[in-house]
């Protein structure tokens, strides 16, 4: 399973330390969320999209990544346009209903839509430019509890293992006419999910045995990161300041 993971290893942004990237991304995210207009958000979205294109992300991955949020944007826009506000823009009849579009709804919808676009493209830049382990190390630098990051590391690793397991079980059930009718489909899904939990139990037992014999004492060791370069810090401050100024306008 590819989890849509793509890492632009030779992009310039990938060479910047993950901690700074995460910090800058979170600060800009907060600005996006708290901005009450459209301009700043569209700016962030277009900057991010330009960056993503320069990372040569395959189109298929790019479209898959943005398909769900775009649909949500569309639905939110429709709901807001037709169901909130009181200043009608236009109206028409469809299937016996009268649909009226409202100006306030349109404005509100565009604000929410552009906010979603800005936020997801910003996060996409971060994820495409940072490998998962580095992102986790950056989270621990931001004082996210190490116990939680450990859970994330195990989960990330074993999603792939358990997913393969799930596909094998799924195929085995299918070969024996599981999922053939509605009732059967549900018991099959239940067995599949239950088998995964059993597998998780058993695998965690053998896993901890293997870890203990390699010196595990209850905590995964934390890797020390390299010291931050001055140029990186300077660049990050610059980006944050520039964004801050644009945000204030």
């Amino acid at each position: 399973m590819y989890l849509l993971e793509y890492y632009a290893s030779d992009h310039r942004l990938s060479r910047i330390d993950a901690r700074l990237k995460l910090l800058v991304a979170l600060i800009v995210l907060v600005m996006v969320l708290s901005y009450r207009g459209v301009g700043f958000q569209l700016l962030v979205a277009s900057l991010s999209l330009t960056l993503i294109r320069s990372m040569k992300v395959p189109w298929r991955l790019f479209l898959l990544r943005f398909s769900e949020p775009l649909l949500i944007v569309l639905v939110v826009l429709l709901v807001k346009v037709f169901f909130s506000g009181h200043d009608p823009l236009f109206s028409f009849h469809v299937l016996g209903f009268q649909l009226t579009a409202y100006r306030e709804g349109l404005e509100g919808g565009i604000v929410i839509g552009s906010r979603i676009m800005a936020a997801i493209s910003l996060m996409a830049v971060l994820v495409y430019a940072t490998p998962f382990p580095e992102l986790m190390a950056a989270l621990s630098w931001l004082k996210v509890p190490w116990g939680f990051i450990e859970i994330l590391l195990y989960a990330y690793r074993y999603i792939f293992v358990l997913f393969e397991e799930a596909m094998v079980i799924y195929q085995a059930q299918k070969n024996r006419l599981g999922y053939a009718n509605f009732r059967n489909r549900f018991s099959s899904f239940g067995v599949l999910a239950g088998s995964l939990i059993l597998k998780a139990f058993e695998q965690s037992q053998t896993l901890s045995t293997a870890m203990v014999q390699r010196g595990y004492g209850g905590n995964m060791p934390l890797f020390q990161s390299r010291p931050l370069r001055f140029s990186e810090i300077f660049l990050s401050c610059l980006v944050v300041t520039a964004m801050g100024i644009l945000w204030r306008i």
Binding site: M136, R157, T206, A210, M211, Q213, G215, G217, M220, Q224
Partner: protein, 281 residues
Amino acid sequence: MNRIALKNVRHRYADGTEAVTGVTLAVRRGEFAGVLGYNGSGKTTLLKIMDGIIKDFQGSVHLDGADIRRLSSREIYGKMGIVFQNPNDQLFAPTVFEDVAFGPINMGFGEDEVVKRVNRALEAVEMAVYAKKSIHNLSFGQKKRVCIAGLLSMGHEILLLDEPTAGLDPLGEYQMMDLLMKLNREKKVTIFMATHSVDLIPVFLDRLYVLSDGKVVSSGTPEAVFTAPEEMSQVRLRLPQIAELIYRLKHEDELAFGRIPLTIGEARREIMELFQRGNRQ
């Protein structure tokens, strides 16, 4: 000389099944030995007892002369480690480098030393170019190599391996055994493996024990163990195929073979000799 010595070891699981029923064996310094047995003959349990994972056994296990039950896990795992059959059971870090570094970091080495050890271990298993890759993007054989590297980076002198060739294709099996032999000959790692692949053993192993029903039924060099097909089929095993062929030619077709060769190379020599003798007559 003996690094690990088992004396009359018995173990019964909580549900009452007796997996190991009186095993006495010894692993000598620097040798490449193994235990051969069918599925369910108690191989894995035996390895777990040798590694100190299972502690409630009867009899005694000594590691370098010390009772393994008296040793702390740190003392045991500083010297030896076990590679389980399924690599997914033991690779838990997101990348190859981090997984191999897990042991050395836990042993308290500084960063430079950790990096040095990881690189050395990855080179030893020919995986150095994959250091930064995610575990889930590796093939099965590569994962197995990373498992071995994870133990080598701790400076282990003894490796226990559970079915190291299971799940590999023919070439992969051969390369895995070749790697283990290199570790044994060049890095002086003592290797003890559990297996049921009879065709590979004579090519690589110095000595082996045949396990059946939790008991050692025969032991010695491959030549001493693989003598007659009937004996082997009694313990649900067989001779290596080439040995079976020569055995039948010798006993059923009465060709004048001297001894039963176990590998293709030996068999080729024997057959050529036979031809030359025949041609001369």
